[in-house]
């Protein structure tokens, strides 16, 4: 009898789940449009709302929604109200493909913003090409997101600089400006972003006459880096390059100081966060960061304050990139004078707009923003202090 009851409960559960699956599910976020206007244009967003990248993804979606609310209040895009539809990808490439399929076929969006990781951005490109909808990636920095084997991907665009550039800037600044010639690298072997930066940092650093005295790896999820750091200490570098995200940065920086390593630390755009300062204020004092913008630039403050007022949280780095993606899309739509995805795509190829992280001028050959300078930030007394705009060619 008990078995019968369980069977019935299970059957009921199944019916409910199938019922949920059957009816059209609601998108995670919808309708930022104000009054019921006759014409609505839909814009999609994808990225991680859950998983280990959730901090950044949630900030992006918030920014995109806030921006379009402002645009809607001013009359919308070409007089049409904008509706933002955001889907979670859990940081998984297959889920990103599902989400884009849904956005392009069912929701019929004019364009997509995101995702915040290269793996997903590369995986969705075939769907974009099939459905002919353009995508503007926020922080997908792998060169292969827009160009594979010399061919540009027609529907993939981005607003961030790419790994080779960021790695080269870091190496160039270390050798030419800081005049440090002996570097060690600690990197995450299981992370694409970390491997990309490592490769190009090493290349430029050696080209400029520097020497890589140690190159050690760890694996995502590790918390103890002392074995690698002890080895790095033996090599006695002047600078240690740490291209990974702030949790590992905080732990490894603290452990490096604990082992008595006094070398200058340097990192990329995975560093900036308030949590990093909270946890490793002393250890990262005097470190350098290659960033997309200067956080204290007066032009940035308006957006920063508006975001904080609306969501009660500080903007993470990705918010600024999402801001620029929206600006770029707006410019392209106005230029195309149409919300047809293909026309938008053509307009994007020649668009140029003043974004929050600098002038974004899309190159037709690479679909990357060209000539964007990196901002070098130094940690001084637990603050992110802007040093200079820097670029290498």
């Amino acid at each position: 009898m008990r078995r019968r009851i369980y069977l019935i409960v299970l059957a009921a559960l199944l019916v409910v789940t199938l019922g949920v699956a059957g009816c059209t599910p609601k998108p995670a976020q919808e309708n930022t449009a104000g009054p019921a206007s006759a014409e609505v244009v839909k814009v999609g967003w994808i990225g991680s709302l859950t998983g280990d990248q959730a901090v950044w993804g949630q900030c992006e979606l918030n920014t995109v929604k806030m921006m379009f609310e402002e645009i809607n209040a001013k009359g919308g895009l070409l007089g049409k109200q904008v509706e933002v539809i955001g889907y979670d990808t859990r940081g998984d490439a297959a889920e990103a493909v599902n989400a884009v399929k849904r956005l392009t076929s069912q929701d019929k969006v004019a364009a997509i913003i995101g995702p915040n990781a290269s793996g997903q951005a590369i995986a969705i490109s075939s769907v974009l090409e099939e459905m002919k909808v353009p995508d503007i990636a926020t922080v997908a920095t792998n060169p292969k997101v827009t160009v594979v084997d010399g061919n540009v991907k027609p529907f993939n665009f981005r607003v961030c600089f790419i790994d080779p550039y960021q790695g080269a800037v870091a190496a160039g600044y270390a050798v030419d400006v800081l005049n440090l010639k002996k570097a060690a690298i600690l990197y995450d072997v299981a992370d694409d972003y970390s491997q990309g930066l490592t490769e190009f940092f090493e290349k430029t650093f050696v080209e400029k006459g520097g020497e890589i005295v140690a190159k050690e790896a760890f694996k995502s999820g590790d918390v103890d880096f002392r074995p690698q750091l002890s080895k790095i200490k033996e090599a006695n570098p002047e600078i240690i390059f740490m291209p990974y995200f702030f949790k590992e940065v905080a732990l490894s920086a603290n452990q490096a100081r604990e082992l008595g390593i006094n070398a200058v630390l340097m990192g990329g755009d995975g560093w900036p966060s308030d949590v990093l300062i909270e946890m490793a204020k002393d250890a990262i004092e005097g470190s350098y960061i290659v960033n997309h913008l200067d956080f204290n630039d007066p032009e940035v403050q308006g957006f920063k304050d508006a975001y904080k007022a609306k969501y009660g949280l500080a903007v993470e780095l990705n918010g600024y990139m999402a801001y620029d993606a929206v600006k770029l899309l707006e410019a392209a739509v106005n230029k195309a004078n149409s919300v047809d995805p293909i026309t938008i795509k053509d307009a994007l190829e020649t668009s140029s707009v003043k974004g929050i992280t600098g002038q974004i001028t899309i190159s037709k050959d690479t679909h990357n923003p060209e000539g964007k300078d990196a901002a070098i930030i130094k940690m001084v007394n637990g603050e992110y202090v802007f040093q200079q705009k820097y670029s290498t060619k």
Binding site: V55, G221, D224, R226, P227, S230, A250, N254, G260
Partner: protein, 292 residues
């Protein structure tokens, strides 16, 4: 030579973290003959409980420490009641226990993600992060404290198991559940005690882990390593778990230090499999006769 000594110290320190976690696995295994994968979740909850007691309630360290241990002990009991005891009553195969345990660990990890959030939390500084320098070597203060606390709790555990009446009952149950039940041991109660003890150790491990590193929902993932260490030392044997953990810590450290940090886990795993082939029950495992 200094570098080598420093690497050995690093290895001991990493190994002792594994050891505290691995003992929980072994303790449960010795009685139930299955790997309690929910233990990782329990350790993670211990770290969070400790964190909130210290920051939100501003309790003194030792009290927070004790309360976290009690909290996880209770949590482990609740998991036993809900997820395992119905299976036990039915004499289900060990596979079902493992899956139930995996369900519990998925549940615990994600309930933290959903309620507290995915970002990591930092323990307040209780001990100075400044290491003790011995010549050119540096020894973390926290490492020493961890060492002391682990030794005390492990010694207490061994005392309980070897010298008390309850301990005798635990050992009897570990030997044969059915026979000890026939001899008048309330095995149900013994199993609850074992889970409670395992949870208590998990809580201590969690707080120490949180203090040394940081607190985040995926801590349970690290315990995979300690599980490996427990297998390495021989599941079901407490000294085995400790020795296995320390050895794994040192092997990992020396591999990254002298062979290749890129392939560290590969080499560690290869060595593990080699040891299992030579000695299929781990270093100090008890010889179980096809119990599963």
């Amino acid at each position: 030579m200094t570098a080598f000594m420093q690497q050995i110290i690093n290895g001991l320190s990493i190994g002792s973290v594994y050891a505290l976690m691995a003992v929980g696995y072994s303790l449960v295994y010795s009685i139930m003959n299955f790997s309690n994968f929910a233990h990782g979740g329990v350790i993670m909850m211990g770290a969070y409980i400790g964190f909130f007691l210290l920051t939100a309630f501003k309790l003194p360290f030792l009290i927070a420490f004790g309360l976290a241990g009690v909290g996880t002990g209770v949590l482990a009991l609740v998991i036993e009641r809900i997820a395992y005891s119905p299976l036990r009553k039915r004499n289900a195969p060990f596979l079902y226990f493992i899956i139930s345990a995996m369900g519990a660990s998925i549940f615990l990890e994600n309930i933290v993600v959903a309620t507290i959030g995915p970002t990591f939390k930092t323990y307040p500084r209780i001990f100075s992060p400044e290491p003790i320098a011995v010549g050119n070597l540096s020894i973390g203060r926290l490492d020493l404290i961890m060492c002391v606390i682990s030794t005390i709790s492990l010694a207490a555990l061994i005392y309980v198991i070897e010298k008390t009446k309850v301990g005798t009952a635990i050992r009897a149950t570990a030997y044969s559940v059915r026979a000890s039940a026939l001899m008048g041991v309330n095995t149900d109660q013994i199993i609850m005690i074992v889970f409670g003890l395992g949870g208590l150790l998990g809580g201590i491990a969690g707080v120490l882990f949180g203090m040394k590193y940081t607190v985040y929902p995926q801590i349970g993932f690290i315990t995979m390593k300690s599980f490996i260490a427990a297998v390495f030392g021989g599941l079901g044997s407490l000294p085995g778990a400790v020795i296995g953990s320390i050895l794994l810590g040192i092997i990992e450290t020396l591999t990254s230090g002298y062979i290749s940090s890129q392939y560290r886990d590969l080499i560690a795993f290869a060595l593990l499999i080699f040891i299992l082939i030579v000695r299929p029950i781990g270093l100090m495992g008890k010889t179980t006769e096809d119990k599963a």
